[in-house]
């Protein structure tokens, strides 16, 4: 499923510039424990988290994630966005919770791809 379709249907706010929004999203992972996300997400997944600090960019970079959605109306720190742009990782915000975003993604047909 194209990232651009997800952005449109979920009304996500893009917070970073010059990122590839045409990429393929292969699955989704929800997690606020960084090592857990490192262990259990996979390449091309979109990640839902409450964290706003710069280390979310590192996790996304190392796992080859397709993007990060910061949920619950939380606002990423400026340093986080700067680092994300350097690594071309799209960061989004939403007022919705992880549960609501994940539920909608599932209904859109985004199922868990093989790791």
């Amino acid at each position: 499923m194209k990232l651009s379709r997800i952005i449109e249907e979920l009304g996500l706010q893009l917070r970073t510039e010059s990122c590839d929004l045409d990429c393929e999203v292969r699955g989704c992972y929800i997690g606020d424990i960084l090592s857990d996300v490192m262990a259990n997400s996979a390449e091309g997944y979109i990640w839902l988290t409450i964290h706003v600090h710069p280390n979310i960019t590192a996790v996304a970079e190392f796992k080859g994630l397709s993007g990060v959605i910061v949920v619950n109306g939380r606002v990423p720190e400026p340093e986080t966005l700067k680092k994300a742009e350097e690594h071309k990782i799209p960061i989004f915000t939403t007022g919705l919770s992880s549960y609501e975003i994940a539920g909608r993604l599932y209904l859109m047909g985004l199922k868990r791809a093989a790791k």
């Binding site: 424990i33 490192m38 964290h51 280390n55 590192a58 996790v59 340093e79």
Partner: protein
């Protein structure tokens, strides 16, 4: 020569520097990509390196993260000056952590770091002296894996 060093890099890591924490591992990943290692090997090295780096940021005063690449292997070495680990066997258990509440609130300190390092490496060695520091050494076998080697 089989043990010829292809690349050797070292990065200084400062304890409690959460803003720069992770940057050394990003540079390691870039270097390994430039050396044309397959994505799966780069990903394993990145995860292990990041966990090693963040362990120093979270628990040590300061340290060094070093990368050595030979035609056969990727070796990453973390050498820190800090509090050390009293019981390594216990620390290696998935879920065991001595992290403070503040560290946990940032999403670290879930007791998964050392097991993630082990899972993503082929060899892992850890030694520690309480009050002095900790050394973690990992090897990822890469025998002939580089596409241009």
């Amino acid at each position: 020569m089989k043990d010829k060093i292809v690349l050797s890099q070292g990065f200084e890591i400062q304890g409690a520097d959460f803003v720069r924490g992770g940057e050394a591992s990003c540079q390691i990943v870039e270097a390994l990509r430039d050396l044309a290692f397959p994505p799966e090997i780069v990903r394993r090295a990145g995860i292990a390196s990041y966990e090693m780096e963040m362990n120093m940021v979270l628990y040590a005063d300061h340290g060094m993260l070093s990368l050595t690449v030979t035609p056969d292997a990727i070796m990453i070495f973390a050498d820190d000056q800090g509090q050390g680990i009293p019981d390594i066997e216990l620390a290696m258990q998935n879920g065991y952590s001595t992290a403070t509440q503040e560290i946990r609130e940032m999403g670290f300190g879930a007791g998964m770091g050392l097991s993630n390092i082990k899972k993503n490496s082929d060899k892992m060695q850890i030694t520690s002296t309480v009050g002095e520091g900790t050394k973690v050494h990992i090897v990822i076998e890469a025998n002939g894996a580089r596409s241009n080697s």
